[in-house]
């Protein structure tokens, strides 16, 4: 099913700003807020995992039912999970499309990977001495 993904700040995301490697930050930025009717159409329940795929990439995240988002629009806190599907094209303005990203969403049993995992996929090396 196709949706429009939008991103933005949340208090939970902001309060983990100095703890980006924590489970709390992972949870705050890997929640996908989705309308209950859309969950129904996908045949899943709040808390189930989905694979979100856009032109620039894909990521597995956890759903959270919310009537605050309109149907066919989904919301995520800004962070490495949303950015895994955000493309770097800026329409010659310098600003990528962080909001209004067309995505397809399908249920999955795959796990939500960690922030370190995403960074290592991009070519980095984790520092877990702390």
């Amino acid at each position: 099913m196709t949706f429009i993904l939008t991103t933005g700040r949340t208090v939970a995301q902001g309060s983990f700003i100095e703890h980006k490697i924590s489970k709390g930050y992972q949870r705050a930025t890997s929640l996908l807020f989705i309308h209950p009717m859309d969950l129904f159409c996908l045949g899943i329940e709040s808390g189930d995992r989905v694979r979100v795929t856009g032109d620039a990439g894909e990521i597995v995240v956890t759903t959270e039912a919310s009537e605050d988002v309109p149907e066919k629009t989904v919301f995520m806190a800004l962070g490495p999970y949303a950015n895994a599907i955000t493309g770097g094209y800026t329409h010659s303005t310098g600003m990528p499309d962080y909001k209004e990203i067309p995505v397809s969403i399908e249920p999955t049993d795959d796990p939500v990977i960690s922030v370190w995992d995403i960074m290592e996929k991009a070519g980095g090396v984790r520092y877990d001495h702390t």
Partner: protein
């Protein structure tokens, strides 16, 4: 010991009325602060030593070794990128601009991925702006457009708008109306007197319709614009015309969606239009506590507010070309210095792939997502807690950040000065 009137080093509100309880050189209590500022003041985890990547892992090194390695990487690179700057103070930013000029580097800040389109719009049509104090004391109508202050700037409403006492009001809460325009029913939308829900990407249409209505040409507006009924738009225009002072605040919902800076330009022109009939101002909800400060510093020193390229020997500015995302997408930088920001968490994935593929250095107190992408990380003192300095609030008012704790960590300014001196030495300019 209680230290009063401490500015909060988190968001652009730069709340300077926070009280900190300090015992044995540790912050043990925070009063008058939001949940996010609280978490920052009470944060304990941080990187203890400079680290360098060797043999597929990380090793701890001395500050001297980390600085020498950083200077060597930067001096040897052909197209270095200096990025970040919004989470540090003006005095350190000044050294950063000198370093960029010495290196012939591209220097850009987090502005590039937040209110860059707002600045482009302001450069096109000007800025009918104001200070937050004026809004607090005068605005009887506040419009939040494409932003969610309750979650992004949690004290904006209580210090400056909805819940703040205004000098010229008898009962501010009942005399002040709040309108929220957004694509979803955000927390801010729930407390608004009027919530206008726009379909994603529809801001430009709604702004244009409002401009026509304010001009008296409501007849050309169809029955529904981007999901908003014409009657609701008419109600908003009537609210504006009745108001004595309107404060419009806009966020990334306007600047990051389709249309980018043209959306913001349209919003500014709507504000100008309303100002023919009553007083109306517009302000950007800036994110980092000193993102505005870097725009000031770079403008004083190089003539432009962000995305300045010194590779030609002069300051060259062309957003869309010299902006950090475009540069990384073209895979141009062959080295990068990242300070006071976390692109690992906030850049598109493809840009992070390039940062990881080149020698990158991070200057930051904490281990964050960018740590993994870098070869060197140098921990520093935390601005506004362990080091004093100048930061600019979202309305351009400079505020002196306080030092409340003693530390052995060097400051951003000190580290940058040492890198700068070393680079000059390597370049034969020492």
């Amino acid at each position: 010991m209680i230290i009063h009137d401490v500015p909060c080093p988190f968001c652009g509100c730069l709340c300077d009325d926070v009280s900190l309880v300090v015992e044995k050189n540790r912050i043990v209590g925070v009063e008058n602060c939001c949940a996010i500022g609280n978490a920052k003041f009470l944060s304990k985890t941080r990187l203890k030593h400079p680290i360098i990547r060797r043999d597929g892992g990380w090793v701890e090194v001395s500050y001297e070794e980390a600085i020498d390695e950083t200077a060597k990487i930067l001096a040897e690179s052909i197209r270095p990128l200096l990025y970040g700057w919004s989470g540090t103070y003006g005095e350190a930013q000044v050294v950063g601009v000198h370093l960029a000029e010495e290196l012939g580097a591209l220097i850009d800040s987090t502005t590039s991925v937040c209110h860059n389109p707002s600045i482009l719009a302001i450069q096109e049509v000007g800025h009918p702006g104001t200070t937050l104090g004026q809004v607090k004391n005068r605005a009887d109508l506040v419009i939040y457009w494409g932003c969610n202050p309750i979650e992004a700037h949690p004290r904006h409403l209580s210090r400056y708008t909805t819940y703040a006492d205004g000098y010229f009001f008898e009962n501010t809460v009942s005399d002040r109306k709040v309108v929220v325009v957004d694509i979803r029913r955000s927390e801010a939308a729930k407390i608004a007197d009027e919530f206008i829900q726009v379909t994603p990407g529809g801001d430009y249409h709604v702004l244009s319709a409002l401009r026509a209505m304010v001009r008296g040409r409501g007849d050309v507006v169809p029955g529904s614009v981007a999901g908003v009924k014409k009657e609701q738009l008419e109600r908003l225009v009537a609210l504006c015309m009745e108001a004595k002072y309107i404060g419009v605040f806009f966020g990334l919902g306007v600047s990051m969606t389709r249309g980018k800076y043209k959306n913001v330009r349209n919003a500014i022109e709507l504000v100008s239009e309303i100002s023919r009939k009553t007083k109306c101002t517009i302000s950007a909800m800036r994110g980092h506590y000193n993102v505005y400060g870097f725009n000031e510093v770079l403008t004083w020193m190089a003539g432009y507010p962000f995305a300045v390229d010194f590779s030609r020997g002069i300051a060259f500015y062309n957003p869309g070309e010299t902006t950090v995302i475009d540069l990384l997408e073209r895979k141009e930088p062959d080295a990068s210095l990242i300070i006071a920001s976390d692109p690992g968490a906030h850049f598109p994935y493809s840009c992070n792939e390039h940062i990881a593929s080149i020698p990158s250095i991070q200057i930051d107190p904490c281990v964050n997502a960018t740590t993994a992408l870098c070869r060197v990380q140098i921990p520093v003192a935390i601005t506004g807690i362990e080091v004093a300095g100048t930061a600019y609030r979202m309305d351009g008012v400079p505020i002196r950040m306080k030092k409340v704790l003693e530390t052995e960590y060097p400051t951003d300014q000190e580290i940058l000065e040492r890198i700068y001196a070393k680079v000059r030495e390597l370049n034969g300019n020492g």
